[in-house]
Assembly symmetry: C2
Homo-oligomer: 193 residues x 2
DNA sequence: GTCTATATGCCGATAGAC
DNA sequence: GTCTATCGGCATATAGAC
């Protein structure tokens, strides 16, 4: 399933809003149907199960972030610029759709939904692969420190994750992109030679 | 509550085991009572609610990690050694009790249990404060890069978190302490001048 | 497509016998 | 302290009228 009806899109967006404002725990068929002003039974006209809704969210996430990544990878920029573009692109993406934060940073939440987990895992993994290629490229260009590329990946993405976690903890109360830019400047100092 | 009966300790440990093997979703009074071979009603002789069990887990976490941290802080080591000791100490701690991983890295999971969240939040926050003091100390000693201490904290602890997440994803199938040591060597290169 | 009504199951928690 | 039995609540999902 890669094409959705308008109602389906409405449901997916509502689910993302509920997740980001009230937490995944409160995403039930009931809260979802109330959100878009229909009764709970009506939801099942559009999705055959709650699991299918979650899987659709995973597909939405994949579609919207793969686009960002492909744009970056196909550019002929130095490795470090690619990493920066990804780092800040993610900040922008999260700012625009807060629901995606939870989708991406929730290893436990969706336990039990294998289709969902598999898709998220694949997506994150392919991103990781491409970023590590950019790191290797940067090392070859003599700009990045010569450490295990995977370790550099962990430092950069781990820092981003903590920033986003703090942002959520602060109820999205600061400008993620602005703070992301500051953080990136610090990280750049660390990873550059 | 800071002292527990044997049965209570048994229940707390069982809960941690269930969380680490089957996920927090499957921690119910029923799975818990089955795990230690009593009926569900019997649990309520030892804890008055499920919430109280979770809060006890938070207290257990606090007790076991504060001890580590105090030992480190009171030492007269250079700042960077303190950070290293904390980093590897955490790896060791998680290796010894896998349940603690989920306790620490689960912003969402325990939503709804305010007592739990508050305690975990306080604990993590006090650790962060002490670590940042160690970073500032290291910068004064001229050993660590002169960037925003908070950003260095995020890079180091974020990387640790991703390592631990990978460890869990691999079903604890590699030696966390060993991989942690490798990761630390890389991080040391990044943050040192 | 949406409504109301309902089936089914699991959850946390309690009562009372032993 | 543990047992069995049970309550009330809420979850997903279905059936049938409109």
């Amino acid at each position: 399933m890669t094409e959705w009806t308008n109602r389906q899109k409405e449901i997916i967006n509502a689910a993302l809003e509920i997740i980001s404002t009230m937490g995944i725990q409160n995403l039930t068929i009931k809260t979802l149907s109330k959100w878009i002003n229909v009764t709970d039974g009506a939801i099942y006209r559009h999705f055959k199960s709650k699991e299918e809704i979650l899987t659709s969210i995973a597909e939405f996430f994949k579609a919207s972030s793969t686009e960002l990544l492909n744009r970056i990878v196909s550019s002929r920029e130095p490795g470090i610029n690619k990493i920066k573009a990804f780092f800040l692109g993610r900040c922008r993406q999260f700012s625009e759709n807060r629901g995606l934060v939870l989708v991406m940073f929730s290893e436990d939440i969706f336990k039990g939904n294998e289709a969902y987990q598999k898709k998220i895992y694949e997506t994150i993994h392919s991103h990781k692969k491409l970023l590590i290629e950019a790191i290797v490229q940067g090392q070859k260009e003599g700009i990045l420190e010569e450490i295990e590329p995977e370790h550099m990946f962990m430092a950069v993405m781990g820092a981003l994750r903590l920033l986003v976690t703090r942002w959520r903890g602060a109820d999205f109360g600061f400008d993620l992109l602005k703070e992301g830019e500051k953080l990136w400047k610090s990280l750049e100092k660390l990873i550059s030679i």
